[in-house]
């Protein structure tokens, strides 16, 4: 029989952190094993479908509209994972009462959060890439891909994921989390200047979106793919950065809190 050796001292330091991160990532990926292929497929189909549906609806799509939708869909595929699916999975853990076991695991909280963000990247990126390729094949887009697309995509995914994560951890009631994510889908798809310019919204809603994260997400990603379409992308980065920082702050406060 193997000797059972209870720990004599605490693990600390970078090696402990890195190992914990890798193990939590393995935990998250295995947890999603049964839904992972389906989720990635749904992301790919909905991203590509959105791009193609525009052409079916309107037949002849004006180049500017095609450009907006093709770049906006990328943001949709990126944020629906973090803002909608992620919180729903956490709500499910809370409803099934498995949440406490997960938070009793001996890993630094930051590794659990970062493993979650990484998982969201893995779920979100294939759909985004396929949507972009489909858009390029379907429409004669005037795209100018710049290196700025990398920080734009990373910040968009990170911010969307962390807002969803902070919300799901801060709210105790799983039903409430589910209800809010439903509302978010509605907001994101219908009333956010992601697939269309903000000018098409009522003034008050356009003004509000200057301070919400969704329009800045669309602006930063679009600025990484086009020239002369997005104005003042620096402001969008600042607003988005502020949302990212705030959601990290809320997450840290919520996860550090003990009832």
């Amino acid at each position: 029989m193997t000797a059972l050796a209870p720990p004599a001292e605490l693990r600390r330091g970078l090696e402990y952190w890195w190992r914990s991160y890798r193990m939590m990532l393995r935990w998250e990926m295995t947890s999603l094993r049964l839904v992972l292929p389906v989720t990635i497929m749904v992301q790919i189909l909905s991203g590509a479908g959105f791009v193609l549906a525009l052409g079916i609806f309107f037949g002849q799509v004006p180049p500017r509209a095609a450009l907006f939708v093709s770049t906006g869909v990328l943001v949709l595929t990126l944020v629906t994972i973090g803002l909608v699916l992620g919180p729903q999975l956490i709500a499910q853990q809370k409803a099934e009462q498995t949440y406490e076991f997960l938070w009793s695991l001996p890993v630094p909280r930051t590794t659990a959060a970062l493993a979650w963000v990484t998982t969201n990247f893995i779920l979100g990126l294939p759909g985004m890439a396929v949507a972009l390729v489909v858009a390029l094949l379907r429409y004669d887009l005037d795209l100018h891909v710049s290196p700025a697309i990398v920080p734009a995509v990373l910040l968009t995914l990170f911010t969307g994921t962390m807002i969803g994560y902070a919300m799901a951890h801060a709210l105790g009631n799983p039903m409430l989390i589910a209800a809010i994510t439903q509302l978010l889908i509605f907001m994101i798809l219908g009333f956010s200047p992601i697939n269309f310019p903000a000018e098409q919204l009522p003034d008050w809603l356009a003004a509000l979106h200057r301070w919400l994260p969704l329009a800045p997400m669309a602006d930063t990603v679009r600025a990484g793919l086009t020239v002369g379409v997005v104005e003042d992308v620096t402001r969008s980065y600042l607003v988005l950065g502020a949302w990212a920082a705030a959601s990290v702050g809320v997450t840290a406060a919520v996860l550090g809190r003990r009832g």
């Binding site: 720990p7 693990r11 947890s31 049964l34 001996p106 630094p108």
Partner: protein
Amino acid sequence: MDGQNWSLRVRDLVKVFNHKVRANDGISLTVEPGEVYGLLGPNGAGKSTLVKQVIGLLAPDSGTITLGPHDLVADPDAARQLCSYLPQAQMPVASFRAREAIEITGMIRGGDPEAVARRRDELIEALDIGEWRNTLGARLSGGTRRLVGFAMVTVCPGRVVVLDEPTNDVDPLRRRLLWQEVRRLGDAGVAVLLVTHNVMEAERAVDRLALIDRGKLLAEGTPSSLKAEDRGRLRLQVMLTPRSETPELPPFVQHHTRVGHNLMTVIPEAEAAPAIGWAQDLIGRGLAEEYALGATTLEDVYIRLTGDVEAGGGASE
């Protein structure tokens, strides 16, 4: 051993929910390494609240919890590293194969990969769940899932292993295997904190136990020391005829409880003969169907101290 004394010491622990519910109301106890320590009490007694503070999921309002040199209230990270926790709820392993769930948890707990793999295989064999080694958690029965959960938290045990109703849904044969593994944990110097309201099982499995009710520790000791006060007494159990009133009790009955048709009484040994006579008389008059006379058990102590009627040795909530 490293010369360090790894006692778990809980002192004057108070936890109040919503400013009024005193879930833990000044609990103090010490669990020594190698000891299997039972926390016994009815639903809502405050047992789970107590262990959640030990493992760092809840913070007490006042009081201290130390494990060896570590202050677990001030350092919840230390609490998570030094304690392993099997919650009462099912484990989130639906998409894990049984062996994977055990192995990944062992790795998360910092185990060396080879040692984890060896111990995983030993646990699978010791708990007799080899048949489901490669089965996904979603396809496992509740009891097998429970055993996999037990293996997950004990593959690389902490200094303290907290088991909240570990045998729920587990079949009688594998329960015995599980208790053997609990004993091995104790032999390896682990302090086992066992939360249960299953009195019969606790009596056999624990070295010492605390009886908790309404947030307070009512009694603490070995099962036999707790039964000492009942020495010289017997339990007379009478199955009453359905829908009959509780009959008038003879003066020598010291305690009684009735659950359904089951009338449980505690009597002095010296009164055994008249007590049997009384029970036979009840049967003769059609008021009772059968009776049994036996030694008092921990359950009688439990009922006497908590006044709780639902302590029936049932395993689930």
